[in-house]
Symmetry: C2
Subunit: 196 residues, 2 copies
């Protein structure tokens, strides 16, 4: 017989376990299916148990956001932006999840910190570097959010049929991101040149 017998009190879950479960629900069901009940099911626990670990759903979502937007090290503006975009793309609805936590002030983006440093190194003033970082973050999240919602709409078939979902158009998206990014970065650089 096993040391853990069948009538043992149920094993304790950590905050980490709860976030793990949330990540797997997100991967399988997307943000629309990321409910407290489904997370509880994965953990084989009552919904109310989750509220011992997190005060509410938004706090749990903030922890999930932290898992999605992992720290990266990049010293150039474009590299930080690309790294942020890749971390968002690596998880279903990543941009939307991160966007909500960010807007509520529940998440600090390491990519943003890197962008501020890169902007300072490029010669921007403190205030301009903050603005530049926010501008880049907004661009990356906005673009990726839009892209991920369209991908999901394509799968579900909920989108307007006039939306162009042809493979050629989808494939081109990566290039569009980089083209727009180049414009934003060049604008940031020229604002440094203007201040010099």
């Amino acid at each position: 017989m096993n040391a853990a017998s069948a009538d043992q009190p149920a094993l304790r879950r950590s905050k980490t376990d709860v976030v793990d479960a949330a990540m797997s629900v997100l991967a399988e069901n997307g943000i629309a299916g990321l409910s407290m009940r489904r997370i509880a099911d994965v953990l084989d626990v009552q919904v109310s148990a989750l509220y011992w670990h997190f005060p509410n759903k938004q706090a749990l979502l903030a922890a999930v956001s932290g898992r999605i937007a992992t720290g990266t090290d990049a010293s150039h503006l474009a590299d930080s932006a690309t790294a942020l975009r890749e971390s968002l793309l690596a998880h279903r609805d990543g941009a939307e999840v991160v966007s909500s936590s960010l807007a509520l002030g529940l998440l600090e983006l390491s990519a943003r910190t890197q962008m501020v440093e890169a902007a300072l190194a490029a010669g921007l003033s403190d205030a301009a570097a903050e603005v530049a970082a926010d501008t880049l973050v907004h661009y990356v999240i906005g673009f990726t959010f839009h892209e991920q919602q369209r991908l999901h709409a394509a799968v579900v078939g909920a989108a307007d049929p006039s939306v162009d979902l042809s493979p050629a158009r989808i494939a081109v998206t990566g290039g569009d991101f980089e083209a727009g990014l180049a414009m934003v970065v060049s604008g940031i650089r020229s604002s440094a040149a203007a201040a010099r």
Copy 2:
């Protein structure tokens, strides 16, 4: 006695009436409180009646989005962006409502069309003009979305206390938008110069 006596069959509602009701619920309760039941209450109608006018909530939201992002005429990139931003700011949670309809391909932005034209006039190629317009739209919506969620968080008190909500910081936001906008526009212009 009035021509419309009390036992008359209830008066018919138009699609316009439904959207009107949705607009007033949005103004009073925000997007989180914009439920089909509340809209039905305003119209003094059963929830199911709304489904005769709109196939689902997203379609109704798209109509609401059309009301928010009203057509404007501007011939410069920065003017179109500012006009779009102002239309979003004029309605509670305007950026979030428009963002979701846009991502699902259920809304055409006249501001975006104007931006494409302005970019072409500035000398961009067709493809670059599309990218430029999308970049600007992402910037405007991302910035305004973030700003409106923070304003709401400030009212509700749901935000992290470390978030700086001092009047000075809030007042400075308008300037930050324009500073970031100037960077993006300058980047777009320089991409035209590079292609020349």
